[in-house]
């Protein structure tokens, strides 16, 4: 397959990851940081998928599953923590 497709996909995913990292650093509230880290994990999942397509293997699928679970559990736990802390 054409190499430029993968280079373009990698550049777009890199831009998305860098913008998410900027929002994690600069985010005014903890929820902005949580949203941005969720987005960073989604970008990593997409990058793992693109790498699997490029190299033609399926060994990273369990890692994609674990990353999806981590993103879900992390955002739920942080959301509960934020609402508990502002209550007291």
């Amino acid at each position: 397959m054409n190499e430029w497709v993968f280079i373009a996909v990698g550049l777009m995913l890199l831009v998305a990851a860098l913008l998410a990292l900027y929002r994690i650093i600069r985010g005014p509230s903890i929820l902005d940081r949580m949203i941005a880290s969720d987005m960073l994990l989604t970008t990593i999942i997409c990058a793992l998928g693109a790498e699997m397509v490029y190299n033609g293997h399926t060994r990273s699928l369990p890692a994609m599953l674990v990353l999806a679970t981590t993103a879900f559990l992390g955002s739920v736990v942080v959301a509960r923590y934020v609402s508990r802390r502002t209550k007291s």
């Binding site: 397959m1 054409n2 497709v5 993968f6 373009a8 996909v9 990698g10 550049l11 777009m12 995913l13 831009v15 998305a16 990851a17 860098l18 913008l19 998410a20 900027y22 929002r23 509230s29 903890i30 929820l31 902005d32 949580m34 949203i35 941005a36 969720d38 987005m39 989604t42 970008t43 999942i45 997409c46 998928g49 693109a50 699997m52 397509v53 033609g56 399926t58 699928l61 994609m64 599953l65 999806a68 679970t69 993103a71 879900f72 955002s75 739920v76 942080v78 959301a79 509960r80 934020v82 609402s83 802390r85 502002t86 209550k87």
Partner: protein, 160 residues
Amino acid sequence: MTLDTILDVLTGAFLLLGGFLSAAAGVGLLRFPDAIARLHATTKPQILGLTFVLLAIALQNHQLSTILLLLFLLVFQMITAPVSAHMIARAGYRGGIIAPNSLLVDELERAIDAAPEFDNADGAEADDISWAETTAQPTSVPNANEPLDAEDERQQNASN
């Protein structure tokens, strides 16, 4: 031979779409002014961009076991991504991180106000809002999450 070419072109197109959605969500994360707007931008590639990438993987490796695992991953993400987005938005609303004057329409506040007495107490102030008749019944909203949120609403009323 030509089928492989078609599959390769489709794979490249799906990968480019997934990457474009991720980059657009990154730009939205940078440019949007509010936590709610950023949440709106970033939940798009969580489902659709991941769907495109998983379709690209499925077009390149068409064994049944791979496709079943991809399907499980997609269904899992479709179940959990709205839940986590809802939890984040709810924590932002309850915690006061979302500024109330940044919302054009605040239906949840009227639902919370109407929660303890379970009648249509805000009908008087709904008269001067013309869209209020077309929205859902406010009494059905507190019933759905009443047992979990009773303490939250008391706290909200006390802080008001």
